[in-house]
Symmetry: C3
Subunit: 492 residues, 3 copies
């Protein structure tokens, strides 16, 4: 016993800085995916409801809608959800959070910039010719900043906790993003509340207690809002409610830190800013960007994934999961499902989240299944479906329709059946494990097939023929077409 302790302990540490053998890291790396641990939650769920946002806040150039984090399903899953609708030329100001985020681009296209600590500014320019968004004006000649990524409908962007990022709509239509904050994540050492730290703006509507739908009068012109005249009451107010991180520092301290004058220090505190967290960019936002767009670069990214030159700073943060070509499960009469996990997008290993996007054709079904090792937070992108969710003791906790824009959480180990409505059903599911595993109860890879016939016969008190029906009548995998249902069912 004591010997084995010694042995174990020595072996264990022997290996912390060991020799130099091959290919071990990758697997080692994977082998710990179960290391994830989450905050303690309370999951006494008797009844689920499909939820729409409980609170919305308008900004100058967009709308932010927040789901009620106190809803039982979100408390159980330990997540927080926000949907931003960003107008053309709208800029969602840079912020970071104590929770890792998954951003799903529901609609539109834009730019996403992350400021990763310790990484160099790798986008550099000497002349204006390479600038995106340049519209003939030549007043700017150089800049350097960290990588900026183009995002478009169907992209998932992964953001570690504590990394500041911003989003800009450079498309022609609205840019809609759905963000999940995983507040129960191991990376969060504060508490179970998602905290958003803004580096700019004056997002006072974001305060925790706020529930009101504010419609800010945006009469304040840019020049006016720059005036330094602020009454003590105004200042008091802006400090009680939310404002950006710099607002909490003394102007003199800020001036000292940045080696700037006090006036500019006060300006970055944005105390009299009425624009909210999504602001209008007057001209186009000009950032450095390589000329080619989209797919091609992404493919190159794939090649690079396995190279030794990969580092955190050059790591891919996004992946498109709407492309039908990338489906992992496809049934021509059922639909398709694309899974994104840490094998596809390695940074997910780091933030312990994954996602799936599904398309279900009209009246088709997703097999009854449960998530083995995570919660699944489903956001409906299009269409509608009827869902049934069953928990411990066979208790039905949800039986109803979910529609576009709604969210429903299926807790770990709870079983669910999805059946698309007449318009079909499209969804994205955020999962609280970097390699989410499902367990179908029917179909080709199901528990029923794993069990011996005699177990089924005795468990359900059925005959051998019925047991074989249970095991083999559905030969599809996860996605089931509906046409086999109805009166013509086999009992072969």
């Amino acid at each position: 016993m004591a010997y084995s302790s010694l042995f174990t302990l020595s072996l264990c540490f022997l290996v912390l800085f060991p020799g130099c053998l091959a290919q071990l890291e990758q697997v080692t790396d994977q082998s710990q995916r179960q290391q994830q641990q989450r905050f303690q939650t309370e999951c006494r769920i008797n009844n689920l409801n499909a939820q729409e946002p409980g609170r919305s806040v308008e900004s100058e150039a967009g709308l932010s809608e927040y789901w009620n984090r106190n809803d039982e399903q979100f408390r159980c899953a330990g997540v927080d959800l926000v949907r931003h609708t960003i107008q053309r030329r709208g800029l969602l100001l840079p912020s970071f959070s104590n929770a890792p985020q998954l951003v799903y681009v529901v609609q539109g296209r834009g730019l996403h910039g992350a400021a990763i600590p310790g990484c160099p500014e790798t986008f550099q320019s000497e002349s204006s010719s390479q600038f995106r968004g340049e519209q003939g004006s030549q007043r700017m000649s150089r800049d350097q900043h960290q990588k900026v990524r183009e995002i478009r409908e169907g992209d998932i962007v992964a953001m570690p906790a504590g990394v500041a990022h911003w989003i800009y709509n450079d498309g022609e239509s609205q840019l809609i993003v759905m963000i999940l904050y995983d507040t129960s994540n191991q990376a969060n050492q504060l508490d179970e509340n998602a905290r958003r730290f803004y580096l700019a703006g004056n997002p006072r509507q974001q305060q925790q207690g706020g529930r009101q739908r504010r419609r800010e009068s945006r009469q304040g012109s840019r020049s006016q809002s720059r005036s330094r005249s602020q009454s003590p009451e105004e200042r008091e107010r802006s400090q009680q409610s939310g404002s950006n991180l710099f607002n909490g520092f003394d102007e003199e301290f800020l001036a000292d830190s940045f080696n700037i004058d006090n006036e500019l220090a006060m300006r970055i505190q944005n105390r009299d800013d009425q624009r909210g967290i999504i602001v209008t960019v007057e001209d186009e936002l000009r950032v450095l960007s390589p000329q080619s767009r989209g797919e091609e670069r992404e493919e190159r990214g794939w090649d690079r994934d396995n190279g030794v030159e990969e580092t955190f700073c050059t790591m891919r943060l996004k992946h498109n999961i709407a492309d039908p070509q990338r489906a992992d499960v496809y049934n021509e009469r059922g639909g398709r499902i694309t899974s994104l996990n840490s094998l596809n997008l390695p940074i997910l290993r780091y933030i312990q989240l994954s996602a799936e996007r599904g398309v279900l054709y009209r009246n088709a079904l997703v097999a009854p299944l449960y998530n083995m090792n995570c919660h699944s937070v489903i956001y409906v992108i299009r269409g509608n479906a009827r869902l049934q969710v069953v928990g411990e003791n066979g208790q039905n906790v949800f039986d109803g329709e979910v529609r576009e824009g709604q969210v429903l959480t299926v807790p770990q180990n709870f079983a669910v059946i999805k059946k698309a409505g007449n318009q079909g059903f499209e969804w994205v599911a955020f999962k609280t494990n970097d390699n989410a595993m499902i367990n179908p109860l029917a179909g080709r890879l199901s528990t029923m097939r794993a069990l011996p016939e005699d177990v089924l016969i005795n468990a359900y008190r059925i005959d051998r023929q019925e047991a074989r029906s249970l095991k083999y009548n559905r030969d599809e995998t996860t996605l089931f077409s509906s046409d086999s249902s109805g009166s013509s069912r086999r009992r072969d």
Copy 2:
């Protein structure tokens, strides 16, 4: 989806004991054992009591006894305990849980089947000749299902969270299994309650609040219980109390999902089933099984452990710890201890649990020791012993006898001395770390020996001779014989 699960899982575990390179992976793997994190618990333990089951529920073919999960010691350790006594030809119906499980076979022999998501049905047959339990009847000709394991007294079976499994008694005597659910485990993202999801049967006695000892009248014959006549009240009742997972779904949905008719769909809901969770198999349960039994296959299993073909699907789930030949610590006048950890049974790495089995001869002692990195949940298999447990501030929290069938938890860092009674003492201890480490305070590998004499002299205000007695008078390791005690003690 299911495919990728399989793929991921295999990759992941492929790597736990991989190729032929220097055994580093294995150790690397071990090196993270401290990564385990558990749910927050409250451990203000002033007094421990050896506990027997607080509640028992009879089924058609057995008895299930539940320890009170609200007992302070189990809340602190974050575990839940159940003991099933399965009659000859009894089948414990398939279920899964949000917590990983360790199953210890206290007595008897049987079959254990697990339905691991994404794994193939590897037991296949064309003819009836290879079926276990075949008794002359030839009506069945083929089946295929996942691996079925023979279990016998002294086996530990490890079950990850979310994997459904069943147990069948094919021996001649009662089969008794003791199951620990590690509800504080990282794999559980729900809350600290163990939830059991049954795939069949109508285990309504399993409900959380239930405390009553029910004695179900089992007059309902199989044919009768198949009748579909169920009053609304009956149905209401069966839904409020526990029932199997399918009971929470609509029949039509189930029929659709399995492509079966509604009648069969209702049958798998088992709504009018009165048999409980352990049911009688009419004939023998016939499952596919290789001809040879037991030891030989197990040994082959050992060879395979380090091969690259090892995957989650073929991973060993069981290990016998009662075999005296496998003792890790042995003292011919003291007894023996066999430890099972993730070096012996690699899946324990995944579920972060381990176990030890001990045999203490009459009046022998286990050295005063504490568990460095885990709780130890002791189940007494045979005999009795006097235990003393000491916590913070030298507070004695237990001083008494423990007897066969009782459970006592020794919390992390609490010191314990065990002294066997006149009949000797046999126990199994479940430990909440995949490589549990102990720290003996006396004997060959003890803290006392690690300290310089001068520290002992000044700490205890004793002379050098006494310090040496403390360090060297016991030269045994962990297990101490009793014959050196008494009047003849040395003070050499």
Copy 3:
């Protein structure tokens, strides 16, 4: 600091899908640093206060001062703090804890011994000639014990949970050590309270509820205190309050376990010991020790760090972070910062903690920054500084001076600016991650530089010239000199 973040981060992810190159285990090892999970905490911090110890307890040869663990900042960070002042020839008795510890030597020199379970006694002697502290007396001729380490001002010593250790002052002045217990650490499976288990002494002042400053009358001579006459009341009292671990066992059991007589068994219970937890050593404490001292051995240790022969038992537990030569960030007009993380001291990987030591010259600044992945618990060693700390919504939670001997916690993601006072400022910061990462908001490696100019222009409604001032006016890294401040600020 920022550099090392970059380095660490890059190394770390380099390895997630790497080729087949060498030295990967080390990084692999690093790559799991995010695996850390902590107990759930509550961090609704509206106001921080620099804290001094709330309670102090005198012992025979020293003073122990305890910070109030219920202070909001310590509950949020999940840590517990103690400062021991050990007199010349004082011995802090061996104890272990359910929480890993970082020990910082604020002043003086001494010996530190750890009793690591399962490790052999590697310090052995046949003759007295090699004993440290030998002063002419020849009555002792041999001893063997585990490694004893010399410690001196500036050393960090890392102690895993459950490992017993002691400290002895063999220097000429007071030995002052500051100890952080990381009670939220994954290694702690009990609850959020730090528990100290003493192996000797009678530390009844250490009890949880105690707040009084006791001044124990130490009239009890050694011979007197050995008397076995103890009234039932006395015994009752000593058991209710804290005492050493052996006190909770029956004398007979102890005698049996150690194979000693009952008298000696009672002696190690130290029931009538009035000396507290720091006791006076009558002569010098003699332990085995190699002849050379300090630096040389430490350097050899460095070479050994990467060798395969490294095991837990021979692993380095200490590292000096006060040596100016080891500074990681140095600004000749600002100061210096030395970081200690699991790359420098690998055992930190195991206990998931790290530390930094900083020296700030008079009026110099530490850049506004936030800790990405941990809390930072700052202890002021010398001098004073003005700090501002800002939390969510730009809320200022601290604006004031911190002085020698005070502690201030900066929670994860909260931004802080430090400005040294007229005497300069020296601190040690304990961090709750084995590779703490900071994110400076100003200076060479700051978020401001990572953002495109157009984002700054639109976010803050400033012109391009001002945006460039924000990005480039400070070209220093993390540590800023003060001379550039004042009226001469550039707006170039």
